[in-house]
């Protein structure tokens, strides 16, 4: 074994180059962020000035509190919505549950800030519902902005993630445990609290962590609906892109603080989840049963209401995209296709092409590197490959805007100039999605017994041929399924692309965002509809390829 590793095999060459790639595109930019956060650019001396500025001015440190508040509340609410939804859908027979399931997933696939601007149209200052309520009750309700607005958008947009995970856990839940408890005299209510909830807890924590990361790092939503209520990603963006000339050092310091917080959260979750992980042998899954009377009525009511609220922004966007307008910010009444004409068929509009092109190249990079890293870290364990495994997980903890800024720090000036190119966006997307594909490939590999590889080798196949002809084909279905989901998240990526894009390689999400900021909701909605359509088609492709009806494992 030892001897093998010293030889210059194809695998060793592969690990070397992949390691170089990650050192260049993950480690180097991050170290640069760290460096800039403590370095005075003029004198070249080490300084704590930026951190001091952050923690002494209320305007700055308040953003941290805001971020924590928003994240905590949104995650909690998402869990409180997602868990019962998953339980109801798994245990009670709900009419149209297949369709509801798809709607919930779709509502999750769209970027959160689309929810923000849709809710502004409904509950904003001049929103449809706001006006209606104000007229009805003669009040002067000013719409949901700030904390309430952000939490509303995030909770409704994120609960599907918890729903998907918990639903997956419930699918693997062994119902004999419930039956055993029942036979021992345990009532339905007690079974839920003493058996189901404790066993679902690790999954709940893991999915809450994902929601936490997503909400904490999201830039678009607080930017649009937050108004005076600023969060850290907004601060980073304005500090870096500030009209009075960006303040690199301060932005870097805020980045460092953000990364520190996510790392702390990550380890807290790890610690909690590791203490309570159980493996179950699901002999009898929970089957949805027909409920009667009030129970049935309540179950249907809750499920339909929550799904309706979740999908409402998409409906608003779809509706708005067909409204006639004066070509700008004012809707003139009636319906027209002009928003599509202005976006889809406008001259020199490469937005859709850009999105697909950048996304597909990024996914290709993710697939090749992700599968290789997984293979190396599982089957060819050594120090280099362990380091590789850890390094690829880093981006999971790095908010998108931080990654974007770190890339500009690193690749804006020689020796490597990439800023403004399509390549920098592709690499940023690839790096950001890498952890998910590595994890799903590791899982797929874990289900392949090494003995089938040994069999191939014993029959005369070389190491590399075995990988190509045996291992890869077997693990591919699982990996591809994961890749489709990564693709969907790549095309809805905003927080890094808003920092890295130029007008030549503008994507759909960036276009939606800029149109919203300009107040052109018609065009924004047309773009958003195209994006949603792409997500739906990808989702259908996913279901088709995997033969599954849900997207959890």
């Amino acid at each position: 074994m030892e001897k093998k590793n010293r030889r210059l095999t194809l695998w060793n060459i592969a690990s070397f180059w992949i390691l170089c790639f990650f050192v260049l595109f993950v480690l180097y930019p991050l170290l640069l962020v760290l460096y800039k956060s403590v370095m005075d650019p003029v004198s070249g001396a080490v300084t704590a000035e930026y951190f001091i500025r952050f923690f002494t001015k209320r305007f700055y440190w308040e953003t941290m509190l805001h971020s924590m508040e928003v994240t905590a509340f949104s995650t909690l609410l998402a869990a409180l919505l997602g868990m019962p939804m998953a339980y109801l859908m798994r245990s009670v027979r709900i009419r149209g549950s297949g369709m509801l399931n798809i709607l919930i997933v779709i509502s999750y696939l769209s970027p959160p800030f689309i929810g923000a601007y849709a809710w502004i149209q409904l509950l904003g200052r001049s929103g449809v519902i706001t006006s209606f309520l104000n007229e009805l009750f003669q009040t002067a309700f000013d719409g949901v902005y700030g904390f309430a607005g952000i939490v509303l958008v995030f909770a409704l947009q994120s609960f599907p993630l918890i729903y998907i995970f918990v639903s997956g856990a419930l699918k693997n839940f062994d119902n004999s445990l419930n039956e055993a408890a029942e036979s021992l005299g345990c009532s339905r209510f007690h079974r839920m609290w003493r058996i189901l909830v404790p066993l679902i807890l690790p999954t709940l924590l893991a999915s809450s962590m994902l929601v936490f990361m997503r909400v904490f790092a999201d830039f678009g939503t607080p930017m649009l609906i937050g108004e005076g209520f600023k969060t850290m990603p907004v601060l980073v963006y304005t500090a870096f892109m500030g009209e009075v000339g960006g303040d690199d050092g301060f932005a870097a310091a805020v980045c460092v603080i953000m990364i520190t917080l996510t790392i702390l959260m990550f380890f807290a979750q790890r610690y909690l989840a590791n203490r309570n992980t159980y493996t179950m042998s699901p002999l009898k899954p929970i089957l949805p049963e027909r409920a009667r009377g009030l129970r049935n009525f309540l179950a249907h009511g809750i499920v339909y209401l929550v799904t309706g609220l979740a999908i409402l922004p998409q409906a608003v966007v779809l509706y708005t995209s067909f409204l006639a307008s004066n070509g700008g910010q004012v809707f003139t009444g009636g319906y027209a296709l002009q928003s599509y004409a202005a976006t889809l068929f406008a001259k020199d509009n490469h937005v859709i092409w850009n999105t697909y092109y950048l996304g597909i190249v990024a996914i290709a990079i993710v697939l090749v590197l992700g599968v290789l890293v997984a293979y190396l870290s599982v089957r060819k364990k050594n120090i280099v490959n362990n380091a590789l495994d850890t390094l690829t997980m880093f981006p999971f903890l790095i908010p998108g805007s931080v990654l974007g800024i770190s890339f500009l720090f690193a690749f804006n000036s020689p020796p490597i100039v990439l800023s403004g190119t399509a390549l920098i966006l592709m690499i940023a997307f690839a790096i950001r999605r890498m952890p998910y594909t590595v994890r799903s490939s590791v899982t797929a590999l874990g289900q392949i017994s090494p003995s089938i590889e040994e069999a191939a080798i014993s029959l005369g196949a070389s190491d590399f041929t075995t990988f190509r002809k045996v291992t890869l084909p077997v693990m591919m279905p699982g990996v591809l399924a994961g890749a489709i989901m990564s693709w969907v998240t790549i095309i809805s990526e905003l927080s890094s692309s808003i920092i890295l894009y130029t007008t030549n390689n503008q994507t759909l999400t960036v276009s939606i965002y800029t149109e919203v900021v300009r107040g052109n909701y018609g065009n924004a909605s047309a773009y958003a509809t195209i994006l949603t359509l792409t997500s739906i088609l990808s989702l259908l492709l996913f279901f088709r390829l995997t033969g599954r009806r849900d997207i959890s494992n």
Partner: protein
């Protein structure tokens, strides 16, 4: 203290599919009763109807004469051991076992003593503080058993509890289960597809097929006098040979295709001349030298197992048969040896060729459905 269970014409349907077709059985107080049958025969469904996980579509289940069809499971006071044990993975051994007692609002002090006592009974008191993931299959099995019996249920139900264990442990655990059941004297219904296991543990068993009980009886009755061809084929090893039954006055004889004539005295008195299927266990054959009275056959191969030798024979008619000869019953016969095959007339079973039902007298020992 022990209760009896009356299963009275119960029916279970899933849509158009009837999986339990009007079953009746009386399970006596304190007995170890086994439901045995191939997979899909409805035995687990029946068990789950007894505990209440499945509704009863028609018919009644009575415990000590009281109808329980509509009593919810958590109020039935029946303990169950599941195929995969269903140990709560987030609770220690102690807490798993105490779970049912806590549900019964027993005082913690009392729970402690009860748990300690039962863990001694199932011999895992040294594992009290362990988590389920740290236990072996056999130990988990004992936890599941302790958890089910500590609540002093009226009935203990077990659904293929040994199927996840390896062969050696399976034998060890089935003896343990049997001993513990004797000790606490609790009415037990046990489901298995393993006939050896069923014969080993049961006071009585019901052989099921296609949602119908084929025969109920003690292991001895079922092995020695199966009531139909299915039971004869399912329990133990049987060779089936076509023959004709002839009656001359009160005397019966079997005439085999080779022309061999075997007088038999165990046939029901009302039987007439019939086509029959004779079922012969390998140990119910007698090997005689070629040319003597019997079915002419030739030895194709043999397996020597120490205690006995298994011979695989072929008759002149081309039928293949398996015969056991115990050590000391005769010399070893090499492949190709011609022999004459006789049967122990008092032990073989005779079935009506058409109805497949037994024609042996006194087959009423086991109650039939």
């Amino acid at each position: 203290m022990s209760v009896s269970i009356d299963i009275d014409h119960v029916v279970k349907r899933y849509g158009q599919n009837t999986v339990v077709k009007g079953l009746s059985a009386k399970i006596r107080a304190g007995e170890f009763f086994t439901l045995l049958g191939p997979s899909g025969c409805g035995k687990t469904t029946l068990l789950r109807m007894i505990i209440g996980f499945h509704s009863v579509e028609e018919g009644e289940i009575r415990v000590n004469g009281k109808r329980i069809n509509d009593v919810p499971t958590d109020q039935r006071n029946m303990g169950m051991v599941f195929q995969n044990y269903a140990i709560f993975p987030h609770m220690s051994v102690k807490d798993n076992v105490a779970f049912g007692l806590r549900m019964r609002k027993m005082s913690e002090a009392k729970i402690q003593t009860e748990v300690d006592h039962i863990l001694k009974v199932v011999k895992i008191d040294h594992l009290k503080e362990r988590m389920p993931a740290e236990l072996s299959g056999g130990q988990q099995q004992r936890v599941a058993l302790a958890r089910a019996i500590v609540i002093q249920p009226e009935v203990l139900l077990m659904d293929e509890p040994l199927s996840n264990l390896d062969a050696k442990l399976r034998v060890e655990m089935r003896n343990a289960i049997k001993n513990i059941q004797r000790q606490i004297h609790i009415t037990t219904v046990y489901v298995t597809h393993d006939q050896e296991e069923a014969l080993a543990v049961s006071d009585r068993l019901a052989v099921m097929n296609n949602g119908v009980i084929q025969q109920i009886g003690t292991p001895q009755q079922i092995y020695k006098r199966p009531s139909n061809v299915f039971v004869a084929g399912f329990i133990g090893l049987s060779n089936f040979v076509q023959a004709k039954l002839t009656r001359a006055g009160d005397r019966f004889a079997l005439i085999f295709p080779s022309g061999w004539h075997l007088p038999i005295s165990t046939i029901r008195k009302d039987a007439q001349d019939e086509d029959v299927v004779v079922s012969v266990r390998p140990e119910e054959f007698v090997i005689a030298p070629a040319g003597e009275d019997g079915i002419p056959a030739v030895i194709v191969s043999s397996v020597f197992l120490g205690l006995a030798t298994h011979y695989f024979l072929k008759t002149a008619q081309g039928q293949e048969l398996e015969v056991i000869q115990y050590e000391g019953e005769g010399n070893h016969l090499s492949d190709g040896t011609k022999i004459a095959l006789r049967m122990k007339a008092d032990r073989i079973n005779v079935f009506h060729a058409q109805s497949q039902e037994s024609m042996i007298e006194g087959d009423g020992d086991g109650e039939k459905e």
